[in-house]
């Protein structure tokens, strides 16, 4: 029961403070899920993101369902998913009801501009940390850089990039010795 509540609360926090879509929640996820509760490791988080990327639906929801399920089965999955979705729902309904010109309010849009910059810096910090642990050979560093270039500069769809590296890894790493 305690853990169900923790799951709900952690994912609610993540839902409230995720700005800018699924991947932007990584710093919050790492703090709450990996550092604080030890519900998953950094590597497992990346696995969930990878799977979330090539399965249907919202990545944040997929990740919440994954972690919730691992801790507490289908019920844990439902609780974590509800947690990550509920704040969005409430905030949007409030805004839609009371503030039709929400983004035209100067101080609100200034605040969000500042938040986006903080989030960028958080993402870059987290990425550096992940890069050190998961791109520790030159082959893997090359994969990370290629994936970045494909999506950020060549504007390829992340789904195809993910699937391409999945297939590549299955052949390249799968045939060699177990690591």
């Amino acid at each position: 029961m305690k853990e169900l509540f923790d799951l709900f609360y952690s994912f609610m926090l993540i839902g409230v403070f995720t700005f800018g879509g699924g991947f932007a929640m990584l710093p919050m996820l790492t703090r709450e899920i990996v550092d604080k509760h030890h519900w998953a490791t950094d590597e497992e988080l990346l696995d969930y993101f990878a799977i979330g990327q090539c399965t249907p639906g919202v990545i944040a929801v997929n990740t919440a369902t994954f972690i919730g399920y691992r801790r507490h089965g289908a019920l844990g999955a439902a609780v974590a998913t509800l947690g990550v979705v509920l704040p969005s729902f409430i905030i949007i309904v409030l805004i839609a009801t009371f503030l039709s010109n929400f983004m035209q309010i100067a101080w609100i849009s200034n605040a969000f501009a500042g938040i986006r910059i903080a989030v960028c810096a958080l993402i870059v910090s987290t990425v550096l940390k992940l890069f050190k642990t998961n791109a520790n050979t030159w082959q893997k560093a090359l994969i990370a850089i290629l994936a970045f270039v494909c999506v950020a500069l060549l504007r390829l769809s992340p789904i195809y990039v993910t699937l391409a590296f999945l297939v590549f890894g299955a052949f390249f790493f799968g045939r060699r010795r177990s690591v």
């Binding site: 249907p56 639906g57 839609a96 989030v119 810096a121």
Partner: protein, 185 residues
């Protein structure tokens, strides 16, 4: 009837939008064509702008907003629930499958390449937020935002300092909001 249609349309979007929030966009555009009384394309653009700048997963925000626009609080609940349901069910199935193949060398090899790849994808997501924050339209012109760029450098440097590294991300998000207002970003 409207609620049933909402449920159907968002279940479809949830099931076929692969790759996160913005992937639902084409389905929303299709909705505005198929159901002209629900919302116009202009209204959709406004809803996307709000969804992108408010907290929470983009897809969920858009479902809540569109649902509310079409059918009030109940509409928002129906749309959000229908969008999330396919994700939830798919993940439960994927977990079953993964458990079965956990010892497969091929699957593990694939996952091993995926971790650095996803690291690159996250970097790309960060880069696109970064670019749109420091290079922005002001009074009709695209301008480089020096203050925003310096603020980014300050934040980033602070985060690398040993004693500050353990600070909760919320501290930085709150600082970002305050500095955004003070500096009128």
């Amino acid at each position: 009837m409207t609620y049933l249609l909402l449920a159907y349309e968002f279940f479809k979007a949830g099931l076929f939008a692969i790759g996160g929030g913005l992937a639902t966009l084409p389905y929303l555009m299709e909705m505005s064509q198929n159901h002209p009384t629900w919302f116009t394309l202009d209204e959709l653009m406004n809803m996307i702008a709000v969804s992108e700048s408010t907290p929470g997963p983009l897809g969920v925000n858009m479902a809540s907003y569109v649902g509310f626009h079409v059918g009030g609080v109940l509409g928002a609940a129906v749309a959000t629930f229908s969008l999330v349901l396919p994700s939830y069910l798919t993940v439960l199935i994927v977990i079953r499958i993964l458990n079965r193949f956990r010892t497969s060398r091929i699957v593990n090899g694939g996952m091993e390449a995926l971790r650095p790849a996803v690291t690159g994808l996250i970097a790309a997501a960060g880069f696109s937020v970064f670019w749109s924050s420091i290079y922005r339209e002001v009074a009709g012109n695209m301008q480089f935002q020096w203050i925003a760029f310096l603020l980014f450098l300050c934040f980033f440097t602070t985060m690398q300092l040993k004693p500050l590294r353990k600070l909760h991300p919320l501290v930085y998000i709150a600082a970002g909001a305050v500095l955004g207002i003070v500096l009128q970003l």
